[in-house]
């Protein structure tokens, strides 16, 4: 009987402690009258302060997107790689080096340390769609804007719509001049897509260059991409993606025999790894790859460098132009990529990119030099 009493006493104590904590925990209840609602990528209603001054950018493209939308002074946190992995990000925003990245570079599946976020006191956190983290943010009453590209996409238009939606809602969140910038960007995106489409629409599948996208992260160029974004982009730009039927993990591996059987005309090597150039050189030197027409015709291309990866975030229109020029050089001979990239940087990043740096970016901007 005595133990039961003791248990009750303990429970009561613990309960009391909880109640006290509940009572003193910081709340934003006082601010409710001055909030507004934005709809995030996942379709959630996010309640944020009327003016957002502190944004934590954690998912991959989030820094570049906020930067493009003119919200760079509102950023209070970025991911570690945002600060050091992309030379053009530092070039276009010298202040980036000074941004805090103390909470980042974490595996999104890992547990977050919510106390650190409370200490940071952001007005909103842009975060991955990870339920256990979202729950913690909710308990700490920190608004979270979920950044999550649409997963099941049927076609390119759907992806484009999803991207435009992302930029518009993110612009809402940032406020100020951002919505105008978002509209300008959407218009430019549409213009680029319809330009490319008008020139590639009539190419029959049999005459489209077979294209393979290698993931340069690892040491194995046989790792590729399992999502459909590349498939659609390649199709838009006049090619046909050899891995279009793979439904698997994010980075499925194909074997060399399969690749030889596909015999790609063009190989696109993404810019993710540290040394895509080495990877490309190795492929040219490897006799096993020599039977592929992409190798014999020297058509292995490295994706140019951007503020984030060029094929992601707001720089996608530039990437699509570049890709179209690689896949169908005869149809896009008039497109001057240096001018295009300079135009994009001027218009959307408000940055005068020199001709030399533009060329540099197009060649992938050797990360070691950066």
């Amino acid at each position: 009987m005595k133990t039961v009493d003791r248990t009750h006493t303990w429970s009561a104590c613990i309960l009391a402690v909880f109640l006290v904590i509940w009572g003193v925990s910081p709340t934003r209840a006082a601010d409710t009258s001055k909030t507004r609602i934005v709809i995030d990528n996942a379709g959630r209603r996010v309640e944020i302060p009327l003016t957002v001054n502190r944004i934590a950018c954690l998912p991959g493209p989030s820094y570049e997107m906020v930067f493009m939308l003119g919200g760079k002074d509102q950023i209070c946190q970025v991911r570690k790689d945002h600060k050091r992995a992309y030379p053009l990000a530092n070039l276009t925003n010298p202040a980036l080096k000074g941004y805090s990245s103390s909470l980042s570079n974490i595996n999104p599946k890992a547990r977050i340390n919510i106390e650190e976020f409370i200490k940071l006191a952001p007005d909103v956190v842009i975060y991955y769609n990870v339920p256990h983290a979202l729950k913690k943010f909710r308990e700490a009453r920190i608004p979270v804007y979920v950044y999550q590209p649409a997963k099941q996409t049927l076609d390119l238009d759907e992806i484009i719509e999803d991207q435009k939606r992302s930029f518009r809602s993110l612009a809402d969140l940032i406020g100020g001049t951002a919505p105008g910038q978002a509209e300008k960007w959407c218009a430019y995106y549409e213009e680029v897509v319809s330009l490319i489409r008008s020139r590639t629409r009539d190419i029959p599948d049999t005459r489209r260059p077979r294209t393979y996208v290698g993931n340069s992260w690892g040491t194995n160029p046989l790792a590729t991409w399992g999502d459909l974004a590349h498939t659609f982009s390649i199709h838009l730009c006049g090619g046909i993606c050899v891995t279009k039927d793979i439904k698997g993990p994010r980075f499925p591996e194909v074997n060399l025999e399969q690749l030889i059987a596909w015999n790609p005309d063009v190989i696109i090597m993404d810019n993710h790894g540290r040394e895509p150039d080495t990877l490309i050189r190795n492929i040219y030197e490897d006799s096993n790859w020599s039977v592929m027409s992409a190798v014999t015709n020297k058509r292995i291309h490295r994706i140019p460098s951007g503020v984030f990866f060029l094929d992601k975030g707001s720089s996608r229109p530039v990437y699509l132009l570049w890709l179209a020029k690689q896949l169908c050089p005869e149809r896009f001979g008039d497109i001057n990529m240096v001018q295009r990239i300079q135009y994009f940087f001027k218009t959307f990043y408000h940055f005068d990119l020199s001709e030399e740096d533009a060329g540099h970016a197009l060649r992938g901007w050797d990360l070691l030099k950066g």
């Binding site: 974490i106 595996n107 399992g226 591996e253 060399l256 025999e257 399969q258 030889i260 039977v291």
Partner: protein
Amino acid sequence: MRCAVGTCSKADPGRVLHENMTIRPKILIMIALPLAVFFVSLFIGRLVIDPVTLIKVLGVKLLHLPIEKDWNQAVEIVVIRIRLPRAIMAMMVGAGLSISGAAFQGMFNNPLVSPYLLGVSSGAGFGAALGIILGAGAGLIQVSSFGFGILAVVLTYLTSRVYKTTPLLMLVLSGVIVSSLFMSLISLIKFVADPDEKLPTIVFWIMGSFGSTRLEDLFLTFWPMAIGVTGLLMVRWRINLMSMGDREAKAMGTRVELLKGIIIFCTTLISAAAVSVCGIIGWVGLVIPHICRMWVGPDHRALLPTTIMVGASYLLVIDNIARTLTSSEIPLGILTSIIGAPFFAYLLRRSKGIFN
């Protein structure tokens, strides 16, 4: 000493198996099975190759027959430089993991033991993950993986050492400790790894694949495998004694500590080499010795050669499925357990338990 080291162990499998005339067809199957599977493997793949052309290519490339070349260079590369090395690698790894499993099961007198018992796989996995996160090249990742695999077992061995002996229970417990240490180090690397890029590479590596096997890699893997397998074959009769327990083995004139050292050294060479080329492939080292025991009995003189043949054939079949079923590679670790576990359950039920 009855005979020079090596000479009689080589002449032995035949002799031992000859004792019982009913075993003779088994020897034939044992030799024919891997050869047949190997030959068939060369004919299947994602690139459709006319069988006649394929035989011609093999004739020219392997036997130097004077046949006029009327085929595409791609066919030659696929057959000689992709399918052939990959098949040989799968066979080496299958044979190596199986014989290591059988030797460990005998040594620990426990049929539930796998060749990864002493932590070689988690050590090698850590080595590879470390290489991946530091952005090392393929060769360096393999070396780092091999090195850490060996290091993990050395740590296990030193931890379990008590008064110049290594009691089996201590070995098992130290293996658990070292494994979990390296496992948590792998988790730590996964935790700090870039979620978008490095993490999938590490995970894929650990699940295993022969996808990037090259002709040149074969020799690097061949030597540790050959040394390990030869060593195990030479002591295979002693493993019978070892399975009676330390005290009995010693009473019957076995230098128990030396034998343990030899077995651990050989299995570690083999499994570290295996893990470093193709990741952690589970089940093979556990299931194949069982299947072979059902077939030829527990005597390690017959069992060890049998595991080589059956293990090589089994992993080659699995790898053929992994590389041909879909256009992307299926990680081997997944296939070996998806196919291995139900097959093993079926055999167990059919034989109503292997023992007694």
